[in-house]
Symmetry: C2
Subunit: 359 residues, 2 copies
């Protein structure tokens, strides 16, 4: 044997010294420090939030083996680069769970498993990372998804912005559910689950240092349970979209262009809260284009509109549901807004964006 | 109707002007520019490399619906932050496909589907992005995996480093295959599929501006087909690891610690090429700790060692297979290297890393 005593193999490292309390390049190097970071920060949070056995696998294997109850899966991914990392009503960790969960739900899927990839900037306080991971674990536990596999990379100071998170998600698509733009037909009805623009304006109010009488909080939330109930509509549930980047305008435009149908929206029926409306006016923004992180639009058969509305009205994730428009046989690919004063205007896709890095 | 004529809804944008030939913040804004980027760069590359229908879905839905042939899935994720983006023998795009494919293969799974999340730095030349995406599409086509869902975010100049890529992957685990550290028993044999250290040293030679007589190229490659053939060993295939960050030393140490077994490696049997050995000596690095992106270690039952060796010998992805050691009943959790001159030393996990941002 070697002269070195065979100690110190079982991660028997001393408690981190204070200069270790920030992310170092070595935390991404595949050695002992990375392993400690994974065990102390990631596994401990995600294991307590779900079945311990699975989260243990985050460290132990290159990939995780899962059993699915359905052969039809939904699969999606999103990276999160929101700035600031913490904002009224949420943080990047919550966003990284709810955002991907919601994308799965928009296929009518029941979200089951998430992956989590972290890109950390050298110098990030470990306490910040712990807070974010704790928030992710809480969000995952609330929704009933498990974070089962992960990855950590560290880049040099100035080569990232604190932390970027990618999550990918797998969901199970129930029998008989087929939710897609191609299923939309003329006469269908559009419902929105709540008032618009809270997430984007919460972020902007922090960035611009604005103070309003009523606090502007992000609407950041899971839509999975609401979608689960909307699945009671069966084949009458035609299409779903969450209203993230680009807001309602982008979501409805994309559906209309992709499936070549026209949409007529009624401005008077679209819910926007007083504080969001005021903040938008101040900053010269249109709430139709502002991002949400807990709102969806549902396109349903006309005969199912009342039932859809009733489901939303009794669900906490749909705080202000409204029927906002219909699918029109005319002007395919175009979204028209009937104004409160009777005029009409076309709701187009913006070329770029109103607000960078809101998710 | 509005005064605006109802044109320009079908993404009828003019050909990009030259100032559009770099990534702008607006490319991540959920508007028309983002849609164009997705269609022109991502969908066109990934659709031509796989079934067009699926890749179309990258744009059209929040998530993609897939059908799996097996209820047992492998699921994994990795972010890629390698610097430089292009290196001898590969680039970040290839790495992002092969790396995640290899992680799936290490569970004995057949890789099927990938997600791709891009974090782009404002100012990145679009041509660079196109080259990377083309390389990803070629790698995916070669392996037979489909990139079925994606995401694009843009961060301000100086807040990222060109491009970071996250891929998550789903694979199907065949019946009767159970590959995990817990299946390793005393007497098992360790095989390595080829010579060590090529990827890490290729990256370092570029960074340090070193010139060697023989070019140092990354070993960056898919291990999926090799693993598929190793699955012929059935229950005698106990564990697999690809030798990425931390190299052979980290991979074998992690297995040994996780499943509490000891390992004895024979230095004389571990293949290291002359140029890698010379470069390591020059830079003061130990090839056992240098990253590979196309090498694996397989732990098999002793009776299956010859068969495993024969499979590797006839497979192109195992250019220099070797039996390098055994699982020892003594010193659980410890890896011991028997030196060429007869001495023994413990191969420990490094605290941090030898080389930052090699993947």
């Amino acid at each position: 044997m070697s002269e070195q005593p065979p100690v110190d193999f079982q991660l028997a490292c001393p408690t981190p010294r204070s200069d270790h309390e920030r992310v170092q390049m070595a935390h991404g190097g595949g050695g002992r420090l990375m392993r400690r970071l994974i065990e102390e920060v990631f596994v401990s949070a995600f294991a307590s939030a779900s079945s311990g056995e699975r989260s243990e696998r985050m460290v132990l294997h290159d990939s995780t083996v899962l059993t699915m109850e359905s052969a039809r899966l939904a699969f999606t991914t999103d990276s999160y680069v929101v700035s600031p990392l913490f904002f009224p009503g949420g943080d990047i960790g919550k966003l990284a769970v709810y955002g991907t969960v919601n994308d799965l739900a928009m296929s009518g899927a029941r979200p089951r498993y998430l992956s989590a990839g972290f890109i950390l900037e050298e110098g990030l306080p470990l306490e910040t990372l712990r807070d974010i991971v704790r928030s992710m674990a809480e969000a995952a536990a609330e929704v009933g998804v498990e974070v089962v596999t992960g990855d950590t990379k560290v880049v040099d100071r100035g080569k990232a912005d604190g932390v970027f998170i990618n999550t990918a998600g797998i969901g199970a698509v129930p029998e008989g559910i087929d939710v897609a733009p191609g299923r939309v037909v003329a006469g269908d009805v559009l419902l929105v689950s709540g008032d618009l623009g809270r997430h984007g304006m919460a972020i902007m109010s922090v960035r611009e240092g604005l103070q309003f009488e009523a606090a502007l909080e992000s609407d950041c939330a899971s839509l999975a349970s609401l979608v689960d109930e909307l699945c009671a509509l069966g084949a009458d549930l035609h299409c779903l979209r969450d209203l993230t980047r680009g807001g309602l305008a982008a979501a409805v435009n994309e559906m209309a262009v992709d499936a070549n149908f026209g949409v007529e929206l009624n401005e008077a029926d679209i819910p926007v809260s007083e504080p969001v409306s005021a903040a938008c006016e101040l900053l010269g923004l249109d709430p139709l284009y502002v991002a949400n992180e807990g709102r969806l639009v549902a396109v349903v058969a006309r005969r199912a509109a009342e039932q859809a509305m009733a489901i939303m009205q009794r669900h906490a994730a749909a705080p202000q549901p409204a029927i906002i428009g219909t699918v029109a046989p005319a002007h395919p690919g175009t979204v028209v807004l009937k104004g409160i004063l009777g005029g009409e205007r076309i709701v187009d896709l913006l070329s770029g964006e109103q607000m960078p890095r809101i998710c």
